[in-house]
Amino acid sequence: MTRAADSLVVCERCDQAYRWIPLEAGAVARCTRCEAVLGRGHRIGIETVLALTVTALVLFFVVLFSHVISIRLGGTTVESTIPGAVMASWDEGDWLVAVATAVTALIAPAMYILLRLYVLVPIAAGRIPFGFGPCVRALHQVSRWNMLEVMTVGGLLSLVRLAALAEAAPGPAMFALGGLTILLAAIEAAGLRHLWWYVP
């Protein structure tokens, strides 16, 4: 599905208006004034994005329920999960740190994956989901606060620091984080605007 050749597009960064042209797959159109990205020619279709999102959901469950790091010291083993780490900092009284971590590394990515599924599954089946507009608007907000890729590097960095102290090993959640970083980047690159082309 392509946008009508004579439709208009406005650069969201500088308000310059353009007459739009269909883009080849892989092409990137940039604003001639401020160089912001106006649109991309997509290589992957909606079914592929849906498949990636389902995979992301599975990996996200691994992140939620398995440990990121396990360390052993003097015969005791401690395994910590990301939700567990958030709870621990809440218990320490660091509520701002706990909330910031929970929002950016758990709630925002969860909402991102679930809202996408809620929107994509009906569209792939040829229907428009209830509350489509508010969902897409919420997706814009949520994608700004998703920082799972930073958590991936944070996990690796913690692992290196712990290795100096005790026997430390990455858990399943660490590998799932790595996979999710790549998947979410691919899903994000697919964008949201083209979803509106399916709306009559």
Partner: protein
Amino acid sequence: MTAASTAEGARQGLTPIDGPLLGCESCGMVSRGVPEDRLPEGAVLRCARCHHKLHHEKPFSLQRTWSCVIAAAILYIPANALPVMSTTSAFDTSTHTLLGGIHDLWVDGAWGLAVIVFVASIAVPVLKIAALALLAWSVRRAPDWRRLERARLFRLIEVVGHWSMLDVYVVVLLAACVRFGSLASAHPEPGLLAFAAVVVLTLLAAHSFDPRMIWRDGPKHG
């Protein structure tokens, strides 16, 4: 660089047009705008397709940006002066500041990691605070000055902004992992709270800043 050349190709085919048009931030549909003075008091323009509010400019963008930037700059002092983490071992308790942690990594020979943490915890927040202050200041005081470079600067701080959360995550994970009672334990300290506040405030400041202000009354295109 095939991506760059295709981008160039797409760029050639796009024709800029003039006129008071509004693009929807959410769905991209373009509507014809109404001049502010012709709009009835209290009326709100909404996108016909997705009902998202349409603005020529984000409301109170400069005020909100300035207040977040100033608060972040003030909190940046305790974030660096106070310890972010304390570690207890069988023998003693020691506290670590942001710079101290980077210094330790450097002394241990982990230069690559020291550079990563330095960029994420020191360089990115300072760059964001300085850049946002410059962008907000230049909207009023130097509107014609290097518009394209200012637009690029804003895109840069949006891309790197997330990475200052790195040290917050590391301390949260370390405190959760190192729990061996009196043998070894790690705890977050007040500096981390200040640092997390700085990170959140700079993110809010970047979200408040409307890059369209850079181009106000500027050259139309090209």
